[in-house]
Subunit: 229 residues, 2 copies
Protein backbone atom coordinates (compact mmCIF):
# COMPACT_ATOMS: atom_id res chain seq x y z
CA UNK A 1 0.00 0.00 0.00
CA UNK A 2 1.47 3.30 -1.06
CA UNK A 3 2.22 6.02 1.46
CA UNK A 4 0.07 9.11 1.61
CA UNK A 5 1.86 12.39 2.12
CA UNK A 6 -0.01 15.57 2.90
CA UNK A 7 1.43 18.89 1.77
CA UNK A 8 0.24 22.11 3.32
CA UNK A 9 1.47 25.11 1.39
CA UNK A 10 -0.33 28.24 0.33
CA UNK A 11 1.51 28.91 -2.91
CA UNK A 12 -0.26 26.82 -5.58
CA UNK A 13 2.82 26.71 -7.79
CA UNK A 14 5.13 25.35 -5.14
CA UNK A 15 2.40 23.01 -4.02
CA UNK A 16 2.01 21.54 -7.50
CA UNK A 17 5.75 21.28 -7.74
CA UNK A 18 6.18 19.21 -4.66
CA UNK A 19 3.11 17.16 -5.43
CA UNK A 20 4.52 16.21 -8.80
CA UNK A 21 7.92 15.42 -7.36
CA UNK A 22 6.54 13.25 -4.59
CA UNK A 23 4.28 11.56 -7.09
CA UNK A 24 7.28 10.64 -9.21
CA UNK A 25 8.81 9.00 -6.17
CA UNK A 26 5.76 6.80 -5.82
CA UNK A 27 3.94 8.58 -3.04
CA UNK A 28 0.27 9.35 -2.96
CA UNK A 29 -0.13 13.07 -2.38
CA UNK A 30 -2.84 15.22 -0.86
CA UNK A 31 -2.36 18.96 -1.03
CA UNK A 32 -3.97 21.65 1.06
CA UNK A 33 -3.78 25.38 0.71
CA UNK A 34 -4.48 26.38 4.26
CA UNK A 35 -4.48 25.40 7.85
CA UNK A 36 -8.20 24.97 8.37
CA UNK A 37 -8.63 22.96 5.22
CA UNK A 38 -5.70 20.71 6.05
CA UNK A 39 -6.78 20.14 9.60
CA UNK A 40 -10.31 19.27 8.63
CA UNK A 41 -9.17 16.79 6.02
CA UNK A 42 -6.60 15.12 8.23
CA UNK A 43 -9.08 14.86 11.04
CA UNK A 44 -11.07 12.51 8.93
CA UNK A 45 -8.12 10.69 7.48
CA UNK A 46 -4.57 10.92 8.66
CA UNK A 47 -1.84 10.86 6.04
CA UNK A 48 1.28 8.81 6.63
CA UNK A 49 3.42 11.92 6.71
CA UNK A 50 2.79 15.67 6.65
CA UNK A 51 4.91 18.41 5.14
CA UNK A 52 4.02 21.85 6.36
CA UNK A 53 5.07 25.20 5.03
CA UNK A 54 5.72 27.26 8.09
CA UNK A 55 4.69 30.67 6.80
CA UNK A 56 1.17 29.77 5.83
CA UNK A 57 -0.50 32.80 4.35
CA UNK A 58 -0.02 36.05 6.21
CA UNK A 59 -0.29 34.36 9.53
CA UNK A 60 3.33 33.96 10.49
CA UNK A 61 2.50 31.24 12.99
CA UNK A 62 0.03 29.31 10.90
CA UNK A 63 2.43 26.45 10.39
CA UNK A 64 3.34 26.24 14.04
CA UNK A 65 -0.31 26.20 15.04
CA UNK A 66 -1.10 23.49 12.54
CA UNK A 67 1.79 21.42 13.79
CA UNK A 68 0.50 21.63 17.31
CA UNK A 69 -2.95 20.63 16.16
CA UNK A 70 -1.72 17.71 14.12
CA UNK A 71 0.41 16.52 16.98
CA UNK A 72 -2.72 16.47 19.07
CA UNK A 73 -4.36 14.28 16.47
CA UNK A 74 -1.54 11.79 16.38
CA UNK A 75 1.66 11.44 18.30
CA UNK A 76 3.00 9.13 15.64
CA UNK A 77 2.37 11.17 12.51
CA UNK A 78 5.74 12.19 11.04
CA UNK A 79 5.82 15.94 10.44
CA UNK A 80 8.34 17.88 8.39
CA UNK A 81 8.54 21.65 8.44
CA UNK A 82 9.51 23.30 5.23
CA UNK A 83 10.40 26.96 5.38
CA UNK A 84 12.11 29.92 3.83
CA UNK A 85 13.29 31.10 7.20
CA UNK A 86 15.81 29.05 9.04
CA UNK A 87 16.91 30.90 12.07
CA UNK A 88 17.92 28.68 14.93
CA UNK A 89 15.10 30.09 16.92
CA UNK A 90 12.52 28.81 14.49
CA UNK A 91 14.10 25.40 14.21
CA UNK A 92 14.20 24.92 17.93
CA UNK A 93 10.65 26.16 18.30
CA UNK A 94 9.44 23.91 15.50
CA UNK A 95 11.07 20.81 16.88
CA UNK A 96 9.77 21.62 20.35
CA UNK A 97 6.27 21.60 18.98
CA UNK A 98 6.75 18.04 17.93
CA UNK A 99 7.97 18.32 14.36
CA UNK A 100 10.33 15.56 13.32
CA UNK A 101 12.41 17.49 10.86
CA UNK A 102 12.91 21.05 9.73
CA UNK A 103 14.19 21.87 6.27
CA UNK A 104 14.62 25.01 4.23
CA UNK A 105 12.93 25.32 0.88
CA UNK A 106 16.21 25.31 -1.00
CA UNK A 107 16.68 21.68 -0.06
CA UNK A 108 17.33 19.49 -3.05
CA UNK A 109 14.81 16.92 -4.08
CA UNK A 110 17.05 13.90 -3.39
CA UNK A 111 17.84 15.35 0.00
CA UNK A 112 14.17 15.84 0.81
CA UNK A 113 13.37 12.33 -0.33
CA UNK A 114 16.14 10.91 1.81
CA UNK A 115 14.76 12.75 4.82
CA UNK A 116 11.28 11.44 4.11
CA UNK A 117 12.56 7.90 3.69
CA UNK A 118 14.54 8.16 6.93
CA UNK A 119 11.42 9.30 8.76
CA UNK A 120 9.35 6.49 7.34
CA UNK A 121 12.01 4.00 8.32
CA UNK A 122 11.96 5.31 11.86
CA UNK A 123 8.17 5.53 12.00
CA UNK A 124 7.81 2.00 10.74
CA UNK A 125 9.67 0.69 13.74
CA UNK A 126 6.68 1.68 15.80
CA UNK A 127 4.19 0.11 13.46
CA UNK A 128 3.48 -3.56 13.69
CA UNK A 129 4.79 -5.38 10.66
CA UNK A 130 2.01 -5.31 8.08
CA UNK A 131 0.59 -8.71 7.50
CA UNK A 132 2.06 -9.79 4.23
CA UNK A 133 -0.93 -11.96 3.62
CA UNK A 134 -3.56 -10.81 1.29
CA UNK A 135 -6.24 -13.20 2.33
CA UNK A 136 -7.57 -13.86 5.69
CA UNK A 137 -10.14 -16.33 6.99
CA UNK A 138 -11.82 -16.84 10.32
CA UNK A 139 -14.50 -19.40 10.12
CA UNK A 140 -17.29 -18.11 7.96
CA UNK A 141 -15.54 -14.78 7.54
CA UNK A 142 -13.17 -14.14 4.66
CA UNK A 143 -11.28 -10.91 4.02
CA UNK A 144 -9.40 -10.04 0.89
CA UNK A 145 -6.84 -7.42 1.88
CA UNK A 146 -6.02 -6.65 -1.71
CA UNK A 147 -9.50 -6.01 -2.98
CA UNK A 148 -10.94 -4.89 0.33
CA UNK A 149 -13.75 -7.33 -0.11
CA UNK A 150 -15.46 -9.32 2.58
CA UNK A 151 -17.60 -12.38 2.57
CA UNK A 152 -19.62 -14.09 5.23
CA UNK A 153 -20.59 -17.72 4.76
CA UNK A 154 -19.42 -17.35 1.20
CA UNK A 155 -21.78 -14.49 0.51
CA UNK A 156 -20.26 -11.09 -0.21
CA UNK A 157 -20.76 -8.24 2.23
CA UNK A 158 -20.38 -4.77 0.76
CA UNK A 159 -18.37 -2.85 3.32
CA UNK A 160 -16.87 0.59 2.95
CA UNK A 161 -13.16 1.00 3.54
CA UNK A 162 -13.58 2.22 7.08
CA UNK A 163 -15.86 -0.64 7.91
CA UNK A 164 -13.45 -3.03 6.27
CA UNK A 165 -10.55 -2.00 8.49
CA UNK A 166 -12.68 -2.20 11.58
CA UNK A 167 -13.79 -5.71 10.79
CA UNK A 168 -10.19 -6.54 10.06
CA UNK A 169 -9.05 -5.11 13.37
CA UNK A 170 -11.70 -7.03 15.25
CA UNK A 171 -11.37 -10.34 13.46
CA UNK A 172 -7.57 -10.38 13.54
CA UNK A 173 -7.66 -11.32 17.20
CA UNK A 174 -10.90 -13.16 17.82
CA UNK A 175 -11.98 -12.88 21.40
CA UNK A 176 -9.75 -9.92 22.18
CA UNK A 177 -11.51 -6.77 23.26
CA UNK A 178 -10.66 -3.67 21.23
CA UNK A 179 -11.61 -0.31 22.59
CA UNK A 180 -12.83 2.51 20.42
CA UNK A 181 -9.46 4.22 20.26
CA UNK A 182 -7.78 1.10 19.00
CA UNK A 183 -10.42 0.60 16.36
CA UNK A 184 -10.01 4.17 15.22
CA UNK A 185 -6.29 3.78 14.92
CA UNK A 186 -6.55 0.59 12.93
CA UNK A 187 -8.95 2.25 10.54
CA UNK A 188 -6.77 5.37 10.29
CA UNK A 189 -9.40 7.56 11.83
CA UNK A 190 -9.39 10.38 14.28
CA UNK A 191 -12.95 10.86 15.28
CA UNK A 192 -15.38 10.90 18.11
CA UNK A 193 -16.07 7.77 20.14
CA UNK A 194 -19.69 7.92 19.08
CA UNK A 195 -18.64 7.60 15.49
CA UNK A 196 -17.07 4.25 16.14
CA UNK A 197 -20.36 3.15 17.58
CA UNK A 198 -22.01 4.27 14.38
CA UNK A 199 -19.61 2.28 12.28
CA UNK A 200 -20.18 -0.83 14.31
CA UNK A 201 -23.89 -0.30 13.91
CA UNK A 202 -23.50 -0.15 10.15
CA UNK A 203 -21.21 -3.16 10.09
CA UNK A 204 -23.66 -5.24 12.08
CA UNK A 205 -26.45 -4.08 9.86
CA UNK A 206 -24.66 -5.15 6.72
CA UNK A 207 -23.77 -8.56 8.08
CA UNK A 208 -27.32 -9.02 9.26
CA UNK A 209 -28.58 -8.32 5.79
CA UNK A 210 -26.61 -11.34 4.62
CA UNK A 211 -27.20 -13.59 7.60
CA UNK A 212 -30.18 -12.86 9.81
CA UNK A 213 -28.55 -14.77 12.68
CA UNK A 214 -25.28 -12.83 12.65
CA UNK A 215 -24.05 -12.01 16.15
CA UNK A 216 -20.30 -12.23 16.04
CA UNK A 217 -19.59 -8.74 17.27
CA UNK A 218 -19.87 -8.63 21.03
CA UNK A 219 -20.20 -5.41 22.93
CA UNK A 220 -18.13 -5.29 26.09
CA UNK A 221 -19.77 -2.69 28.25
CA UNK A 222 -17.38 0.09 29.13
CA UNK A 223 -14.56 -1.39 27.06
CA UNK A 224 -15.29 -1.80 23.41
CA UNK A 225 -16.03 -4.60 21.00
CA UNK A 226 -14.90 -8.14 20.37
CA UNK A 227 -15.13 -10.58 17.49
CA UNK A 228 -16.68 -13.66 18.99
CA UNK A 229 -14.44 -16.67 18.52
Amino acid sequence: MSRRIAIVEDDPAIRANYAAALGRYGYEVATYGGRAEALAAMKSRLPDLAIIDIGLGEDADGGFALCRELRALSAALPIIFLTARDSDFDVVAGLRLGADDYLTKDVSLPHLMARIAALFRRADLAREPPAAEERFERGALALDLKRFSVSWQGRPVALTLTEFWMVHALAKFPGHVKNRDQLMREANLVVDDATVTSHVKRIRHKFLAVDAAFDRIDTVYGMGYRWKA
Copy 2:
Protein backbone atom coordinates in the same frame (compact mmCIF):
# COMPACT_ATOMS: atom_id res chain seq x y z
CA MET B 1 16.47 7.07 34.24
CA SER B 2 18.82 9.24 32.31
CA ARG B 3 19.54 8.68 28.63
CA ARG B 4 22.94 7.54 27.49
CA ILE B 5 24.39 9.21 24.43
CA ALA B 6 27.49 7.90 22.69
CA ILE B 7 29.76 10.34 20.88
CA VAL B 8 32.22 9.08 18.31
CA GLU B 9 34.67 11.80 17.32
CA ASP B 10 38.41 11.67 16.86
CA ASP B 11 39.28 15.18 17.96
CA PRO B 12 39.63 15.02 21.78
CA ALA B 13 38.86 18.71 22.18
CA ILE B 14 35.60 18.63 20.27
CA ARG B 15 34.73 15.38 22.02
CA ALA B 16 35.16 16.93 25.44
CA ASN B 17 33.18 19.90 24.32
CA TYR B 18 30.14 17.97 23.28
CA ALA B 19 30.40 15.67 26.25
CA ALA B 20 30.31 18.63 28.60
CA ALA B 21 27.42 20.23 26.74
CA LEU B 22 25.32 17.07 26.71
CA GLY B 23 26.13 16.56 30.36
CA ARG B 24 24.76 20.00 31.17
CA TYR B 25 21.54 19.01 29.46
CA GLY B 26 21.21 16.04 31.75
CA TYR B 27 22.39 13.25 29.49
CA GLU B 28 24.82 10.54 30.40
CA VAL B 29 27.68 10.55 27.92
CA ALA B 30 30.09 7.96 26.62
CA THR B 31 32.84 9.16 24.27
CA TYR B 32 34.88 7.14 21.81
CA GLY B 33 37.79 8.24 19.70
CA GLY B 34 37.52 5.74 16.90
CA ARG B 35 35.36 3.35 15.02
CA ALA B 36 36.72 0.06 16.38
CA GLU B 37 36.65 1.29 19.95
CA ALA B 38 33.11 2.58 19.61
CA LEU B 39 31.81 -0.54 17.95
CA ALA B 40 33.29 -2.83 20.57
CA ALA B 41 31.84 -0.81 23.41
CA MET B 42 28.40 -0.53 21.90
CA LYS B 43 28.31 -4.22 21.15
CA SER B 44 28.39 -4.90 24.84
CA ARG B 45 26.07 -2.06 25.73
CA LEU B 46 23.96 -0.04 23.34
CA PRO B 47 23.55 3.64 24.13
CA ASP B 48 20.17 5.31 23.75
CA LEU B 49 21.46 7.49 20.93
CA ALA B 50 24.68 7.78 18.94
CA ILE B 51 26.30 10.88 17.51
CA ILE B 52 28.95 10.10 14.91
CA ASP B 53 31.51 12.37 13.38
CA ILE B 54 31.56 11.41 9.78
CA GLY B 55 35.17 12.10 9.00
CA LEU B 56 36.65 9.75 11.53
CA GLY B 57 40.41 9.99 11.37
CA GLU B 58 41.91 9.99 7.94
CA ASP B 59 39.47 7.42 6.72
CA ALA B 60 36.95 9.54 4.91
CA ASP B 61 34.32 6.85 5.16
CA GLY B 62 34.91 5.77 8.72
CA GLY B 63 31.69 7.35 9.89
CA PHE B 64 29.63 5.77 7.18
CA ALA B 65 31.06 2.36 7.92
CA LEU B 66 30.37 2.73 11.61
CA CYS B 67 26.82 3.77 10.89
CA ARG B 68 26.25 0.67 8.83
CA GLU B 69 27.69 -1.50 11.58
CA LEU B 70 25.61 0.13 14.27
CA ARG B 71 22.51 -0.20 12.19
CA ALA B 72 23.23 -3.90 11.97
CA LEU B 73 23.42 -4.05 15.74
CA SER B 74 20.11 -2.32 16.23
CA ALA B 75 17.53 -1.04 13.79
CA ALA B 76 16.06 1.12 16.51
CA LEU B 77 19.14 2.98 17.72
CA PRO B 78 18.80 6.67 16.83
CA ILE B 79 21.89 7.85 14.96
CA ILE B 80 22.91 11.43 14.24
CA PHE B 81 25.71 12.30 11.83
CA LEU B 82 27.73 15.33 12.70
CA THR B 83 30.06 16.62 10.05
CA ALA B 84 32.08 19.44 8.66
CA ARG B 85 31.10 18.54 5.13
CA ASP B 86 27.53 18.99 4.13
CA SER B 87 27.22 18.33 0.45
CA ASP B 88 23.88 16.97 -0.57
CA PHE B 89 25.57 13.86 -1.71
CA ASP B 90 26.85 13.13 1.77
CA VAL B 91 23.52 13.85 3.38
CA VAL B 92 21.64 11.55 1.09
CA ALA B 93 24.24 8.84 1.46
CA GLY B 94 24.24 9.18 5.23
CA LEU B 95 20.48 8.99 5.53
CA ARG B 96 20.39 6.05 3.14
CA LEU B 97 22.70 4.16 5.46
CA GLY B 98 20.12 4.45 8.16
CA ALA B 99 21.11 7.62 9.98
CA ASP B 100 18.19 9.54 11.43
CA ASP B 101 19.61 13.00 11.16
CA TYR B 102 22.53 14.75 9.59
CA LEU B 103 23.87 18.00 10.99
CA THR B 104 26.86 20.18 10.34
CA LYS B 105 29.25 21.01 13.13
CA ASP B 106 28.33 24.63 13.18
CA VAL B 107 24.93 23.74 14.54
CA SER B 108 24.09 25.64 17.69
CA LEU B 109 23.78 23.81 20.93
CA PRO B 110 20.07 24.52 21.41
CA HIS B 111 19.45 23.35 17.87
CA LEU B 112 21.36 20.13 18.43
CA MET B 113 19.52 19.52 21.67
CA ALA B 114 16.18 20.08 19.97
CA ARG B 115 17.10 17.54 17.29
CA ILE B 116 18.13 15.04 19.95
CA ALA B 117 14.92 15.57 21.87
CA ALA B 118 12.86 15.16 18.70
CA LEU B 119 14.59 11.88 17.95
CA PHE B 120 14.03 10.59 21.44
CA ARG B 121 10.38 11.51 21.21
CA ARG B 122 10.03 9.58 17.98
CA ALA B 123 12.08 6.62 19.20
CA ASP B 124 10.00 6.34 22.34
CA LEU B 125 6.94 5.67 20.24
CA ALA B 126 8.48 2.41 19.14
CA ARG B 127 9.37 1.23 22.60
CA GLU B 128 7.12 -1.60 23.54
CA PRO B 129 5.07 -1.02 26.60
CA PRO B 130 6.30 -3.58 29.09
CA ALA B 131 4.64 -6.75 27.92
CA ALA B 132 1.61 -6.70 30.11
CA GLU B 133 0.83 -10.16 31.31
CA GLU B 134 -2.18 -11.02 29.30
CA ARG B 135 -3.19 -14.27 30.87
CA PHE B 136 -3.17 -15.12 34.41
CA GLU B 137 -4.03 -18.22 36.42
CA ARG B 138 -4.35 -18.87 40.12
CA GLY B 139 -5.62 -22.33 40.70
CA ALA B 140 -9.22 -22.51 39.56
CA LEU B 141 -9.20 -18.82 38.64
CA ALA B 142 -8.26 -17.66 35.15
CA LEU B 143 -8.12 -14.03 34.05
CA ASP B 144 -7.51 -12.91 30.51
CA LEU B 145 -6.61 -9.26 30.28
CA LYS B 146 -6.96 -9.12 26.52
CA ARG B 147 -10.33 -10.75 26.50
CA PHE B 148 -11.58 -9.22 29.70
CA SER B 149 -12.84 -12.60 30.64
CA VAL B 150 -12.81 -14.44 33.92
CA SER B 151 -13.42 -18.05 34.65
CA TRP B 152 -13.67 -20.08 37.81
CA GLN B 153 -13.15 -23.83 37.57
CA GLY B 154 -13.37 -23.44 33.85
CA ARG B 155 -16.78 -21.82 33.99
CA PRO B 156 -17.07 -18.21 32.84
CA VAL B 157 -17.97 -15.53 35.34
CA ALA B 158 -19.53 -12.41 33.89
CA LEU B 159 -17.93 -9.50 35.71
CA THR B 160 -18.26 -5.81 35.01
CA LEU B 161 -15.14 -3.76 34.39
CA THR B 162 -14.85 -2.52 37.94
CA GLU B 163 -15.34 -5.98 39.32
CA PHE B 164 -12.81 -7.33 36.88
CA TRP B 165 -10.06 -4.99 38.04
CA MET B 166 -10.82 -5.67 41.67
CA VAL B 167 -10.56 -9.41 41.21
CA HIS B 168 -7.36 -8.80 39.31
CA ALA B 169 -5.96 -6.66 42.11
CA LEU B 170 -6.85 -9.25 44.72
CA ALA B 171 -5.77 -12.35 42.87
CA LYS B 172 -2.48 -10.89 41.70
CA PHE B 173 -1.07 -11.30 45.19
CA PRO B 174 -2.82 -14.21 46.83
CA GLY B 175 -2.61 -14.03 50.59
CA HIS B 176 -1.83 -10.30 50.66
CA VAL B 177 -4.37 -8.04 52.25
CA LYS B 178 -5.54 -5.09 50.13
CA ASN B 179 -7.30 -2.25 51.84
CA ARG B 180 -10.20 -0.42 50.29
CA ASP B 181 -8.09 2.46 49.07
CA GLN B 182 -5.76 0.17 47.18
CA LEU B 183 -8.63 -1.66 45.58
CA MET B 184 -10.16 1.63 44.49
CA ARG B 185 -6.91 2.73 42.95
CA GLU B 186 -6.42 -0.49 41.05
CA ALA B 187 -9.90 -0.22 39.63
CA ASN B 188 -9.43 3.48 38.82
CA LEU B 189 -12.14 4.57 41.19
CA VAL B 190 -12.58 7.51 43.49
CA VAL B 191 -15.46 6.59 45.69
CA ASP B 192 -16.63 5.93 49.17
CA ASP B 193 -15.26 3.03 51.22
CA ALA B 194 -18.72 1.59 51.44
CA THR B 195 -18.83 1.31 47.68
CA VAL B 196 -15.88 -1.04 47.69
CA THR B 197 -17.78 -3.20 50.09
CA SER B 198 -20.65 -3.22 47.64
CA HIS B 199 -18.41 -4.31 44.81
CA VAL B 200 -16.96 -7.14 46.86
CA LYS B 201 -20.48 -8.18 47.67
CA ARG B 202 -21.35 -8.35 44.00
CA ILE B 203 -18.15 -10.17 43.11
CA ARG B 204 -18.78 -12.82 45.74
CA HIS B 205 -22.32 -13.14 44.56
CA LYS B 206 -21.29 -13.74 40.97
CA PHE B 207 -18.68 -16.35 41.88
CA LEU B 208 -21.19 -18.05 44.15
CA ALA B 209 -23.60 -18.31 41.27
CA VAL B 210 -21.01 -20.41 39.48
CA ASP B 211 -19.68 -22.36 42.46
CA ALA B 212 -21.87 -22.61 45.54
CA ALA B 213 -18.79 -23.38 47.69
CA PHE B 214 -16.82 -20.32 46.63
CA ASP B 215 -15.02 -18.66 49.54
CA ARG B 216 -11.76 -17.34 48.19
CA ILE B 217 -12.25 -13.74 49.21
CA ASP B 218 -11.43 -13.30 52.87
CA THR B 219 -12.48 -10.30 54.86
CA VAL B 220 -9.76 -9.08 57.19
CA TYR B 221 -11.52 -7.14 59.86
CA GLY B 222 -10.39 -3.55 59.96
CA MET B 223 -7.92 -4.08 57.10
CA GLY B 224 -9.51 -5.02 53.85
CA TYR B 225 -9.77 -8.11 51.67
CA ARG B 226 -7.52 -10.93 50.63
CA TRP B 227 -7.57 -13.58 47.94
CA LYS B 228 -7.15 -16.85 49.77
CA ALA B 229 -4.07 -18.69 48.52
